[in-house]
């Protein structure tokens, strides 16, 4: 088991190195001149040259990448003393557009995205697993048909359309909720909750659609297993059989997929944040796209990739723990 964990972890580190190198390369190699993007359209050439040197764009790409990776562990200072800028470790670069270290920008936006992702996750698992279980237990009855319809429609709803409908219905027409304005949970928990209610439901409905189907099919499959028949034969109460045995077996693969989806969301709920104007990682990325702010784009891509790879690895290890057959492969 230790060997398995070790192997998976090393693979994850290698994966992250490849992803980071590729991300770094593609963002530095694509624009014709990354230094020119550091100041506006009517920029004097001297300023561009000074910035090029200061940010290290004059050095070979491999050296730039090395400096970047080193900065993550030791922090980084740009420019000569006097006019230098220091970003403490873990440094993910410096945004000229915003005159801020990228790490602090990410640190200030990540809690927003985490709030969105966490609430949505709780809701979608509740709706998805709940409706899916109901559909499986009432197979062929109207509950099953409602759940199936919900999942087909949910899968077909583009996130931005559902978000706009929600704003239309709950904010503009009925006035039940104010237009979301994000407040930190420590500043005002009630406002925080009110601002996130709509985004949570939008994401939850769309994600839950897939989970309804997965839960339903998973439960129906487990119901055919021998151990369930044994449970029925020896007279286990139905409720106990479902909760203790069927759900437990059916939910393992679903929870692991949910972990991956959650990690993906942590990297920035781009569409939701944009519609509800929430200052999270996704919004940071979109603003950086508009301003061609490369350091931010490199950093947000890498942070999101770390979430994905870490979640993948944890899920794999958990799976190996639960099912020894996986380990040997």
């Amino acid at each position: 088991m230790i060997y398995f964990v070790l192997r998976r972890s090393i693979f994850a580190v290698v994966l992250l190195l490849i992803v980071s190198a590729f991300t770094f390369w593609i963002f530095s190699a694509l624009p014709s001149d990354p230094a020119a993007l550091t100041c506006g359209k009517n920029c004097r050439p001297e300023v561009i040259e000074a910035n090029r040197e200061r940010l290290g764009y004059d050095k070979p790409l491999v050296e730039q990448y090395g400096a970047y990776m080193k900065g993550i562990f030791t922090g980084r200072t740009y420019g000569e003393e006097g006019s230098s800028i220091h970003c403490p470790a873990p440094s993910l670069g410096y945004s000229y557009d915003r005159h801020e270290c990228v790490t602090s920008l990410i640190a200030s936006t990540l809690p927003v995205t985490a709030s969105i992702a966490l609430g949505a996750f709780v809701l979608w698992m509740g709706i998805g697993v709940g409706l899916g279980t109901l559909a499986a237990l009432k197979r062929g009855k109207w509950q099953d048909r409602v759940a199936t319809a919900f999942s087909v429609i949910g899968v077909s709803l583009p996130t931005f359309f559902l978000g706009l409908i929600f704003i239309m219905v709950f904010v503009i027409w009925t006035g039940l909720l104010p237009f979301p304005r994000y407040t930190g949970i420590t500043d005002n928990p009630v406002e925080w909750f009110m601002a996130l209610l709509l985004p949570w439901f939008v994401l939850a409905i769309i994600s839950a659609a897939t989970y309804v189907r997965m839960t339903r099919n998973g439960i129906l499959e487990v119901m055919n297993e021998e151990f369930v028949r044994l449970g029925i034969a020896k007279g286990l109460p139905r409720r106990r059989l479902i909760v203790r045995y069927v759900l437990r077996a059916a939910l393992v693969p679903i929870v692991t997929i949910a972990g991956l989806d959650f990690a993906f969301l942590l990297g920035g709920a781009l569409v939701t944040e944009s519609i509800f104007n929430l200052p999270g990682l996704g919004k940071l990325t979109l603003a950086a796209v508009v301003n061609s702010d490369l350091p931010i784009l490199v950093a947000t891509t890498m942070v999101a990739a770390v979430f994905i790879v870490v979640a993948n690895t944890v899920v794999d290890i958990l799976y190996g723990y639960l099912d020894p057959r996986v380990r040997v492969k």
């Binding site: 490849i18 694509l30 014709s32 077909s156 569409v271 519609i275 993948n312």
Partner: protein, 323 residues
């Protein structure tokens, strides 16, 4: 349990190929048939959009000052719905919404279809190569898939849209929306091939051990014969199901990118652009939000229902793939 089902299925339909059996099954699925005709309708409208627009006299690019009032909003209720403009007009310009929706269908279906063809071709090819060659080639392709899946795809697609489009334009691809569509299709293929490849690889690994493949090999069949005459006919059902389930995803993705301002650019009549535009007006003109939104949703829903029907017909045992 599944053996009992398939055995009875075989007895019912002696002499039918899996493909014909699937077709027979889907004909009995009413929802899928309705969905099929909805898709056919969209394809028809998209194909004949220029003609239809002339016939109905709804030029999608013509500004109609008469149809909007002094505030730039559509004159008349419900977003200016009238005989001249059956779905109303666009606020600010007075362009006809129905005409724009018809042209938008062309973009959606173009991106969806070509994107699916590209990802499927690349995915199937790499999957077959990995499954047949095994060994080093297989590990290489599989690890490449792992790396691809480690990227936050949507984020990267959005982040790279502008620099990549400029790069494509400097390589001689016509600037503007041609370059933008080329970019979208390229990244779709880049990130989309993995699922298809994994599916096909798994199938090929198990098919290659079956007797009929062995028999063909013992007769000295070449790789070409193995791939096209022995393997592919057995892969079609899964490929069809996969294709029909990825199409709606790509249609929605194009709309999402255009909505966020990194897909196609105005004055193209993409549904995503219309929806993005409607955000500025939705207090005063909700019709402009709902009509394009429902148009998009109906197509995606029809594709999904059709895909579900195909999956039930061709691949009754498999769960829905996570796309």
């Amino acid at each position: 349990m599944e053996t009992a089902q398939s055995v009875s299925g075989v007895e019912m339909a002696v002499g039918l190929s899996p493909f014909q059996m699937g077709l027979a099954r889907i004909r009995r699925n009413r929802g899928a048939i309705i969905a099929f005709w909805i898709v056919v309708f969209y394809v028809f409208v998209a194909a004949f959009a220029p003609v239809l627009v002339k016939l109905l006299n709804i030029d999608p690019y013509a500004l109609d000052r008469e149809a909007i009032n002094d505030f730039g909003l559509p004159a008349g209720p419900l977003g200016g719905i009238s005989w001249d403009h059956p779905f109303g007009v666009e606020p600010g310009t007075g362009r006809d919404i129905l005409g724009r929706l018809m042209y938008g269908a062309r973009i959606s279906l173009l991106v969806g279809t070509i994107g699916t063809i590209l990802t499927t071709t690349v995915g199937v090819t790499l999957g077959i190569v990995a499954g047949l060659r095994r060994g080093f080639v297989d590990s290489l392709i599989s690890r490449l898939g792992d790396v691809t899946l480690a990227f936050p795809s949507l984020l990267l697609i959005i982040a790279l849209a502008n620099p990549m489009t400029q790069r494509l334009e400097s390589l001689g691809i016509p600037a503007g929306n041609t370059a933008r569509i080329t970019y979208i299709l390229t990244v779709l293929t880049f990130f989309g091939w993995v699922y298809m490849a994994r599916l096909v690889r798994g199938q090929v690994l198990s098919l290659r051990e079956r007797e009929f493949v062995e028999a063909a090999r013992s007769f000295g069949a070449g790789t070409g014969h193995l791939v096209f005459k022995q393997l592919l006919p057995n892969l079609w059902p899964q490929i069809i199901v996969f294709v029909s389930l990825s199409l709606p995803g790509y249609v929605a993705l194009e709309a999402t990118l255009s909505f966020l301002g990194v897909g196609l650019l105005a004055p193209a009549a993409s549904w995503g652009i219309m929806l993005g535009d409607s955000v500025r007006y939705y207090r005063a003109d909700p019709t402009y939000l709902f009509i394009p939104g429902l148009t998009l949703m109906a197509l995606v829903l029809a594709f999904n229902l059709l895909g579900d029907g195909l999956r039930d017909a061709f691949d009754p045992r498999s769960d829905r793939q996570q796309l």
